[in-house]
Symmetry: C2
Subunit: 318 residues, 2 copies
């Protein structure tokens, strides 16, 4: 699995057996280490043993959606220990802090990441450290979320084939030691194909899936070309020009975390994908207008797709 | 960066009577408008009437801390309607979504903002729109939070006198229409002085307050010069050099939201301040090592300082 992740650059430590091996020489020299935000114990052997079998990490914005996914996976993967949804503690392991919540069901760990790249970066750093401490191997990271569509109607599920950020560059912009830092964003085309091929795995529901580029924005308003933020320095014509430029660049959707997810995963040689469902067609309007029921239904599509993919993976006996 | 996007000053609409008047000409022409993330109704006249008297918006990372602040303010401002802490509904108005929660007590609205500048930008855009819709005037925005200290010990409360971001520039870096956008970060020195002068308002607890610059980072690890992230591309010596450079630049603390808060507030002409308490002295170590009790105690200091400031404001009959 891991040899397929397209690691083309970098000072990353090579890891031929697929084990998670983080490119941070300092970790082995620390007097004390801990996961400050997620508070999963890094030195508890039982916990680490439990996590050692993790093959999938699923992340998404809200705790509720990730809990729903964990419950769905428990049912569909026949993880009997986790199947009693009436119980709050129906997971192998769960944590809840004021920032992040996580739910482990068998070989899958579902964690919420909040809004925006800094928020997802914090939790990914700590999840990656947990995976290494637990001795995990051949792990796949999948973000599920919602997005604005570019010419796509609500309910279409987009699998990201590439990411553009401000300046129309394929980089995640962050900083280190006070200096701007650009990390390459890499997509695993094979993983995209595998997930995409699950769209019709269940006869009852053919998911409408589109593979295309994602624009990753810094906020929900000006960065996404909306007119309805608290301030707006451009005209309706400027907006149309921006959205058309996205479309002509092959961009299918806009969200706020994909660049960080794919760049950070690439940096630590974990293969990763981003799956987001459209909640508004931005070529028609700025404000999503779905009812709560419609939103709930539509938000279930990426959960369904990722569940099919994970189910297929384990039915193959991988 | 395109010349169109370099908004460095202030096409803000002037508003001489202190009313919130947002610099977005499109808002008055929208067919339909709503606050997508906070879900406070924008067209309910009773709600807007209730919000029209807001004079302070307090924001902080977690819902729990903002609820604590709202309860404390209710007690100390003698807002009897809100004083029964045993009740869940002891606020004038409260909302809870999976993203953000808010608690209104009299003239103060306390809202959580999550982690990082994108997350705080989303909620601020919507809170500013609410303030305008409600016809609010002379509003002050205060962020409370935690931070790493530069040469300051845990428990010291830092009031931000200026913000540096990556590249050691005093700007909030975001984007608009696919182009990088730098917005100026402005501090109100008078507001900083007013808040600072409240440090000894209560004989029982002299708060240790420091006024100084803040470095606003993109993540908790490399952006803040830590060695204990999932990857690290620099040496211990590089780290020391970075932290020393911060100190010689007058930086007292590091956090993740100040630039966006002060730039966005300035953009809409709302005065704003940032108050963060130190939870680790970064010149000594990377990982905070406070007990849960110590953390809880220390996190109460910015709540205490902002409460004293708001209390003093209303005791003056402003």
């Amino acid at each position: 699995m891991s040899e397929k992740s397209t690691v083309t650059t970098d000072n990353n430590s090579a890891c031929t057996d697929g084990c998670v091996k983080l490119p941070n020489p300092h970790l082995s020299t620390l007097d004390h280490d801990a996961l400050f935000h997620i508070q999963v114990p890094l030195h508890d052997t039982d916990t680490l043993k439990d996590f050692s079998k993790i093959k999938f990490v699923c992340i998404g914005g809200t705790p509720g959606r990730m809990k729903l996914l964990a419950q769905k996976l428990a049912r569909e993967l026949n993880l009997t220990k986790c199947q009693d949804n009436s119980k709050e503690d129906n997971f192998d392991y769960a944590f809840t802090t004021e920032r992040y919540s996580g739910f482990k069901v068998g070989p899958v760990f579902c964690v919420n990441h909040g809004i925006g790249q800094p928020s997802v970066a914090v939790v990914l750093h700590e999840v990656f450290k947990l995976l290494q401490a637990a001795g995990c191997s051949n792990v796949t990271l999948i973000r599920i979320g919602t997005c604005g569509g570019i010419g796509l109607e609500p309910g279409t599920t987009v699998i990201t084939s590439g990411v553009l950020t401000a300046g129309f560059k394929e980089v995640y912009v962050t900083s280190a030691l006070g200096r701007p830092l650009e990390l390459p964003v890499k997509v695993d085309p094979e993983l995209v194909r595998e997930i995409s091929s699950c769209a019709s795995d269940n006869g009852n529901l053919d998911l409408k899936v589109k593979v295309g580029k994602t624009f990753c924005a810094e906020d929900f308003y000006q960065s996404q070309g909306r007119l309805d933020g608290s301030f707006c320095d451009y005209s309706k014509e400027d907006q149309i020009c921006f959205l058309n430029k996205l479309q002509s660049s092959g961009v299918c959707n806009i969200e706020m975390e994909s660049a960080a997810v794919l760049a950070l995963a690439h940096k630590v040689q974990i293969r990763a994908a981003v799956i987001c469902v459209v909640i508004v067609n931005r070529l028609k309007c700025d404000l999503p207008s779905l009812t709560a029921e419609e939103m709930s239904q539509i938000e279930s599509y990426p959960l369904e797709l990722v569940t099919r993919y994970i189910k297929r993976h384990f039915s193959k006996g991988d």
